[in-house]
């Protein structure tokens, strides 16, 4: 029994020795094979080939750089992707600097090989960026078109064009200064505001007009809106009535009076008119500002929408 164990150990040892010898041979063979490779470097040692290689690399490099320069436009116009592109460009600039440094030393074959790899990488990135450029330009075009369409229909964020004809047929005796009117714009596709008027009434409720300040108990006004948009619209018009002393007339019920932001800074409004107007509809909006004490003089009503003055009217009280 003991002899059989010794024989087994002997056989295992022999097998291990054989395997070790085989591994040693394999290592030696591979080593020898690798040592024959420098022979292929004969070509790279050739000065001509080396220069040709450098020249072709330079050509590739210059091509990539030219493509890169053409992408400046993308950088300057792309807003939301600007950061991303700037980052990519910085990476490419680093790559370019590396390549320039490597090509500056054509004697180093490893350097040329790395330069070639880097130029390929640079080219790939430039191509990628070019594709992005085309996509962005296409998207910009699409968005510009969309904006153009929205500009035609959007409300109420857009400036309102007041119908200039409205000022000639005002029933108000007072002079009405023209508000900001864009002569080139067309009322079609816009909200228009017209016929602003301001009146004083002698009764708290009722319709007896007056021009005498001591009789007046409330100021009332009206204006017409026309929805030429392709959709229903709603919004707010701020009414500012300036008293003869330049102060804003505040409603007796101060729940109606507040402040709003305009292009000229914060202003107090006398009344806020909220409205809904269906597509194609025209409607007259009325409002009233009850006042405790009205003094004699000229009252000016200014209408504002989105902080912009859109119409005016005035009324004199004796």
């Amino acid at each position: 029994m003991r002899d059989s164990k010794s024989i087994l150990l002997l056989i295992v040892s022999m097998l291990l020795i054989v395997v070790s010898l085989f591994l040693l041979w394999t290592w030696g063979y591979n080593k020898g094979k690798q040592n024959t490779k420098p022979g292929t470097a004969v070509i790279s040692d050739s000065t001509t080939a080396k220069l040709l290689s450098v020249d072709s690399l330079n050509d590739l490099y210059n091509d990539a750089l030219n493509n890169l320069n053409s992408l400046d436009l993308v950088i300057s116009r792309a807003d939301s992707v600007k950061l991303d592109i700037t980052f990519k460009l910085e990476e490419m600039n680093r790559l370019r600097d590396d390549i320039t440094a490597l090509l500056a030393n054509p004697q180093n074959p490893d350097g040329l090989r790395i330069a070639q790899q880097k130029i390929q990488e640079l080219q790939r990135r430039v191509d990628e960026l070019k594709k992005q450029n085309i996509a962005i330009q296409r998207e910009n075009k699409r968005l510009a078109e969309l904006l153009r369409q929205l500009a035609a229909i959007s409300y109420p964020s857009d400036p309102v064009v007041v119908n200039p004809d409205a000022y000639s047929d005002s029933s108000n005796t007072a002079t009405i200064p023209l508000p900001q009117i864009d002569p080139n714009s067309k009322p079609e596709g816009m909200m228009t505001f017209s016929s602003p008027s301001l009146t004083a009434f002698s009764e708290e409720t009722g319709s007896t007009e007056t021009s005498i300040s001591t009789e007046a108990m409330r100021m009332a006004g009206s204006f017409e809106i026309q929805n030429n948009l392709s959709k229903d619209a709603s919004g707010e018009i701020m009414v500012v009535i300036l008293q003869p002393d330049g102060k804003v007339l505040k409603s007796a019920s101060s729940w109606d009076t507040g402040t709003f932001e305009t292009e000229e800074g914060r202003k107090i409004y006398s009344y806020k008119v909220k409205f809904n107007c269906y597509r194609g509809e025209s409607r007259v909006l009325n409002f009233e500002v009850p006042a405790d004490l009205l003094t004699a003089g000229n009252y000016t009503m200014n209408l504002y929408q989105n902080g912009k003055k859109i119409a005016s009217a005035s009324k004199s009280l004796q």
Partner: protein, 386 residues
């Protein structure tokens, strides 16, 4: 216990004037001309002191909430301590204000109304001091020599209901949720059923001072403003938010109201600082974001809410800058930086509940909330007299 004060003598009136002049606090006392037959006075014995408001009914009358505050004064007496001294001071203040209304402003007896606030009644009930209210009423009747004068406490629902009726104009009555932020609690409500009998009461145990006190307790050794702000956010985000969210949801006010009106000292302070141009207006429409901006300014740049800084920024030459400056100074005298932070923090927390993504509510800050109930009480009392 009846206390007799011989206030009808010139010396006692002189004493009262001297006593009250140092403690008078007028939240909105811009108009001081008192005249005409439509003038009424309401005197309220509150927890902290005695308040008197003199109002003039204007235009279409009380039913439309048309009234002017001619005078709004208060005397600090701390009645709810129910001590002998506070009793005497309260009686002195109450009688003195009554005499001022009657003699100085020439408002007849039947147009002067006296009540005890719901806060006084609540504390008296809790501390078994209800008899003190009776004693005060009797002593007052004796002092003014009007044994049949009605002097009664009003309960919290009545107070909130009357405030709503007095403050909110009839055109907005059934669409407005009124919230009065006090120093120790918040109360309010709305009319849910289109009539003035049904009133949905809203109550919170948090007020501006209680937020401030809870914050102070959390400060430990670090008393800096940074820590105050941090701890205040924790108070607001913790128990206060829980209660506010629950109370607002239960009230169903979000679904039932278009307008959310806030009254109380902090609403007056915030509206004066945000919209100084409207310092004279008793009610100011408010935008949520403007309150957020004010909150940031108070914390990060407190000097920017000083009277000089705000007045400097007013470009409209037609504005009365002196009057505006005085109002701002008054705000800064009543509320310091931390009190403003606490109050506006609570205000924003409640406002946030109504600042929906799809449906925006119109917010209002009411400056004369403390006298709002008087006009409604006057209206009710006149109806009863007829």
């Amino acid at each position: 216990m009846l206390t007799r004060i011989p206030l009808r003598t010139p010396l006692s009136i002189l004493f009262f004037v001297a006593f009250s002049s140092v403690q008078l606090f007028a939240q909105t006392s811009l108009r001081i001309k008192i005249k005409g037959v439509n003038t009424y006075a309401g005197i309220e014995v509150g927890s902290k002191g005695v308040k008197m408001s003199v109002i003039e009914v204007t235009g279409s009358g009380l039913k439309n909430g048309n009234f002017k505050i001619l005078k709004d004064t208060s005397v600090n007496t701390d009645f709810i301590t129910f001590s002998k001294e506070s009793f005497r001071n309260t009686l002195l203040g109450l009688t003195g204000l009554y005499e001022t209304a009657n003699k100085q402003y020439q408002i007849p007896e039947n147009r002067i109304f006296v009540v005890f606030s719901s806060g006084v009644k609540a504390v008296a009930d809790r501390e078994n001091k209800v008899s003190m209210i009776g004693n005060m009423a009797d002593s007052f009747r004796l002092a003014i020599n009007e044994p049949n004068r009605k002097v009664e406490p009003i309960d919290v629902i009545d107070e909130a209901r009357l405030s709503h009726l007095g403050i909110v104009p009839s055109s907005k009555r059934y669409t407005t949720f009124l919230i009065d932020i006090g120093s120790g609690n918040t109360k309010g409500g709305y009319f849910p059923s289109g009539n003035t009998k049904d009133f949905s009461l809203f109550q919170l145990t948090w007020g501006t001072k209680s937020i401030s006190n809870a914050t102070e307790k959390r400060l430990d050794d670090d008393k800096t403003l940074v820590n105050f702000s941090r701890q205040m956010q924790r108070v607001l985000a913790g128990p206060a938010e829980e209660e506010i969210t629950y109370a607002v949801n239960v009230s169903n006010a979000y679904n039932m109201s278009d307008n959310i009106a806030f009254s109380g000292g902090i609403a007056w302070a915030a509206s004066t600082l945000i919209y100084p141009e409207l310092a004279e207006n008793p009610v100011v429409p408010v935008i949520y974001d403007d309150v957020v901006k004010l909150s940031e300014k108070i914390y990060k740049n407190y000097l920017s809410v000083s009277d000089s800084a705000i007045v400097k920024g007013l470009s409209d030459p037609s504005l009365d800058k002196k009057m505006i400056g005085n109002e701002i100074r008054k705000v800064n005298k009543v509320f310091d930086q931390r009190a403003l932070m606490s109050g506006i923090g609570l205000l924003l927390k409640i406002m946030r509940q109504f600042e929906g993504v799809h449906e925006k509510k119109q917010f209002y800050f009411v400056k004369n909330g403390q006298v709002g109930w008087i006009s409604a009480y006057v209206s009710q009392a006149i109806a009863e007299q007829k």
